[in-house]
């Protein structure tokens, strides 16, 4: 079953590929048989198998979106399922050498050494490495991969799976629902605070591979947790597809923060549906950094369904050559006294295009709701493009809504000032860009903040302000 692909050396830290060695790979293409096969290999219960097949029908019936970015994917030319190892390893040493090398290069074990609460690493379709601090497990915290959760926590999964994002939501949510594999499952019991971030890494190694992880996070009443994910893939000549679904449920008084640093290779279509439901006085925070991919279409959403619920969304997008970052956020105020705050920063460079697309919706009866949106964009050269498409829909008068957006280039005075202190123009630009995204970076765990700044510096290399 294993296939071999030539390795063409490292371009940067993330743009390397390991030899492809697989225990199992389903054939290319998408139909009922493939979906049934995935379900069979995973030994899934009947309801999940039916859920997948129903989702496939929905996927096939839905047209491609006509807005956003240009999607050029042949759905029949993709591997929907690859299994890299036989089983999930619990200690690092047990992992196959190739995968270990890959994750070593990504610095995942280091992350673990820094006392992180748990790490899940997903390689192709399956989660291959997982650990969870013992004390958390004792307090009833569940952090496992989605496949295991379906087997071991069937009641919990069945109660919530697909309730926040049903397959009918959009074409790619339907696709994910049909062929999902891996992803994280988190349950935090009432009143439990997970002090350290829970982490996951996703990586696509094979060419023409689709990755369809499915994440479900349930934070029970008065509990809190912070989940961090990073994504990478090497550069292949053909496009790959990443279509994840992330569902978050924040019960009364809960706090959830979900941080993503997305650094897919520049030929990945990253079409992700992320949505949270926030109940009374709950707080949901999305922190979203989009640096990689050919096209990202991702609009983390928060539905505030009970009074006092809050949403904070902070996002940074960097679109460089050949990239289109169509990212944004959605907040639905469906109850009184709910509030949301959105800060979006984007940078376009070398012909890249970044678009902010957002929705603020205040439903009738959501009195005393507040929403504030600020979008700032930097364009670094004359070949690049920046768009802002915020939608504001109000059905209630007793609210306070503010939206501001601006697009500009790096200020000449700022550049001059830094250069007058001895920096080159390129250094100065990089520094200004780093300052521009500082509001996001300072919200990241330390090692991600360092990484983020490094990635920005890489993106900025060779650019003259």
């Amino acid at each position: 079953m294993a296939t071999k692909v030539d390795v063409i050396g490292e371009i940067n830290k993330y743009d390397f590929r390991a030899e492809e060695r697989y225990v199992y790979r389903a054939r290319k293409g998408l139909d009922r048989d493939i979906v049934a096969e995935i379900s069979a290999i995973k030994n899934e219960p009947q309801w999940m198998r039916e859920f997948r097949l129903k989702a496939l029908e929905i996927f096939e019936s839905k047209p491609m979106p006509t807005w956003g970015g240009h999607i050029d994917v042949n759905f029949q030319d993709i591997y929907y399922y690859i299994k890299p190892t036989e089983r999930q390893e619990h200690s690092w040493e047990e992992l196959p050498e190739e995968i270990k090398k890959t994750f070593d290069r990504l610095g995942i074990p280091e992350a673990e050494k820094k006392f992180l609460a748990g790490v899940k690493a997903q390689y192709e379709s399956e989660v291959v490495y997982g650990s969870l601090r013992e004390d958390l497990a004792k307090r009833g915290v569940i952090f496992t991969d989605m496949d295991t959760a379906v087997r071991e926590y069937p009641d919990l999964v069945r109660e919530y799976f697909g309730t926040v994002i049903p397959p009918t939501d959009n074409k790619f949510a339907a696709l994910n629902s049909a062929v999902w594999s891996g992803g994280s499952f988190i349950y935090v019991p009432p009143g439990v605070h997970v002090e350290y971030p829970l982490q996951a890494y996703f990586r696509i190694n094979a060419a023409q591979m689709g990755q369809f992880e499915r994440t479900l996070i349930i934070v029970d009443e008065g509990a809190s947790c912070h989940y961090v994910e990073g994504c990478t893939a090497p550069m292949y000549s053909s496009e790959s597809l990443h279509a994840a679904v992330v569902e978050v449920i924040a019960k009364r008084g809960a706090r959830v923060r979900y941080t993503t640093i997305q650094n897919w290779a520049n030929n990945i279509y990253n079409l992700v549906t992320k949505r949270a439901v926030a109940y009374r006085d709950a707080l949901v925070e999305w922190v979203d950094g989009n640096l990689g991919s050919r096209l990202t279409m991702k609009y983390p959403a928060v539905y505030m369904v009970e009074p006092g619920a809050r949403a904070e969304i902070l996002s940074v997008a960097f679109a460089s050559k050949g990239q289109h970052q169509d990212a944004g956020s959605k907040v639905i105020h469906a109850a009184p006294y709910t509030s949301s705050r959105i800060v979006s920063k984007s940078i376009s460079k070398a012909g890249g295009r970044s678009s902010y697309r957002g929705l603020v919706k205040i439903e009738r009866g959501a009195k005393k709701s507040k929403s504030n949106v600020v979008c700032d964009a930097l364009i670094l050269d004359p070949y690049s493009r920046s768009d802002t498409y915020p939608y504001i829909e109000l059905e209630e008068q007793d609210v306070m809504i503010g939206h501001e957006a601006s697009v500009s280039k790096i200020g000449e005075e700022q550049l001059f000032y830094l250069c007058s202190r001895g920096l080159t123009e390129s250094e100065a630009s990089t520094m200004i860009v780093a300052g521009f995204i500082e509001p996001l970076v300072k919200e990241l765990p330390m090692e991600y903040a360092v990484e983020m700044n490094r990635l920005i510096a890489l993106q900025m290399e060779g650019s003259v302000g």
Binding site: L394, I401, V407
Partner: protein
């Protein structure tokens, strides 16, 4: 002109087109264009809510078959109500009824200097034919949707204003567009302000009968040539039973300036595209919008600020207030084309919600394809600030007076950008009359 023997009620149909529209005296190029537009009208689908631009606008209440494409002008002429006419000292006036001119005057000195205020259709084959031919439809995309095609196929009458090179017209030119009961106005307006000329043009719409239905399906093209200055006010004040579909577009050339104000008060359903094209270095435009909707009015305004070249500046401020079950839509876009360096674009939309059942959608937008630019937009919505009400109350104003004051102040900020005193004051007065008791507190 010999009219064909008119049967009753010719509608916007093939029969109507071939019986009364096509045979009208017009140059061949114009007739040819009409024919193409009519074909497009027949082919294009009716707008529906799956189209992004119509997603928020419900057209089901509109029935084209209720309107005729041509009706003779009544004799004797009815009295034309106008809020602005008695208050403006003008350089010239034109009054249209159902889109067709019933009178026009130009101050004799200006007439001698070449100022034209005329019926557009009549001018098609006159001394200005070539000028009109060069400009007509250049800014109006009649393939854009079914209403645009209808307009280009069926338009009659209309208004042509030409301000010759270097002529500075101090006082406003007033166009009162009136609509009789159950009639349609498909008039086209063409305004050309030639190089280094200056003028102020005010269009006011007015329904003869406050309770009768009406249809406006019109287009306005405005050319502000190099170095020219135009202040243009379009004051849409139909009754609340009128359907208003309008496309207006202005092209502002190098070193030219335009101040463009839209008042949107009337209409049962209004769908307007207002487009500004800055097409030359140092062109500049200020765009003001005042929207006030009540009862079940639906007002949808789509604005666009196109920066085609560098060193251009646009500044848009739209303010809307709504009460009862009204629905306001404002969708704005600033587009900066590649290479349009040192463009400065601004757009802002503030909304005041005066009832629990009103609804507002505001969708600002930026598409920036050049780097050395400054583009900003802002939008706010909410109800009247209780702290402001309290403050005014501590100075002896009743709650109602305080509210009215705050709402008036809200609009004053945009009215203050209008540099024509008489127009500003008249608009302010009309809005003040419309601001009724604000009943919300509970």
């Amino acid at each position: 002109m010999v009219l064909p023997d008119l049967k009753q009620d010719l509608h916007f149909t093939a029969e109507g087109f071939h019986t009364v529209i096509l045979p009208r005296p017009q140059p061949e190029w114009a007739r040819e264009l009409r024919t193409q537009a009519f074909q497009a009208f027949q082919e294009l689908p009716w707008p529906n809510r799956s189209m992004e631009e119509w997603r928020r606008t419900e057209l089901r209440i509109f029935h084209l078959e209720n309107f005729v494409c041509w009706a003779p002008t009544p004799d004797p002429l009815p009295e034309i109500p106008s809020a602005l006419a008695p208050r403006l000292e003008t350089a010239g006036r034109i009054v249209t009824l159902n889109g067709r001119k019933i009178s026009s005057t130009v101050e004799s000195d200006l007439l001698r200097k070449g100022l034209v205020i005329e019926c557009l259709e009549d001018s098609l084959s006159g001394p200005h034919e070539e000028l009109i031919r060069q400009h007509l439809w250049r800014l109006f995309d009649w393939r854009a949707d079914k209403f645009s095609a209808l307009h280009a196929a069926f338009w009659t009458g209309g208004t042509f204003i030409y301000v010759p090179r270097g002529l500075k017209v101090e006082q406003p030119i007033l166009h009162v567009a009136a609509l009789a009961s159950n009639q349609a106005d498909v008039g086209h307006t063409l305004i050309v302000v030639d190089e280094e000329a200056e003028a102020t043009v005010v269009t006011e719409t007015s329904s003869l009968d406050p309770g009768a239905e009406g249809l406006f399906c019109g287009g306005i093209e405005i050319f502000v040539r190099p170095g020219a200055r135009l202040r243009y006010v379009n004051f849409q004040n139909w009754n609340q039973k009128t359907f208003h579909f309008a496309r207006q577009k202005a092209e502002v050339a190098e070193r030219a300036f335009m101040e463009w104000t839209l008042g949107a008060l009337g209409g049962r359903l209004a769908k307007v595209n207002q487009e500004l094209v800055l097409n030359g270095p140092e062109s500049e435009a200020i765009v003001n919008g005042v929207m006030f909707a009540e009862d079940r009015q639906h007002l949808a305004y789509h604005t666009r600020q196109d920066h085609r070249t560098g060193q251009t500046k646009s500044d848009l401020l739209y303010k809307g207030a709504l009460q009862d079950h009204a629905h306001l839509v404002w969708r704005g876009m600033i587009r900066v084309e590649p290479g349009a360096l040192r463009s400065d674009g601004y757009q802002r939309n503030d909304n005041l919600m005066l009832s629990d059942t009103a609804r507002v959608d505001c969708i600002p937008g930026l598409e920036i394809l050049a780097d050395d630019v400054r583009c900003t937009h802002g939008a706010t919505a909410g109800r009247v600030d209780e702290e402001e009400i309290f403050y005014a109350q501590t100075r002896g104003l009743t709650r109602r007076e305080a509210t009215r004051l705050v709402v008036t102040g809200f609009f004053q900020q945009v009215l203050d950008r209008i540099t024509i005193d008489s127009v500003r004051d008249a608009l302010g007065d009309i809005i003040q009359q419309r601001v009724r008791e604000y009943r919300s507190r509970e």
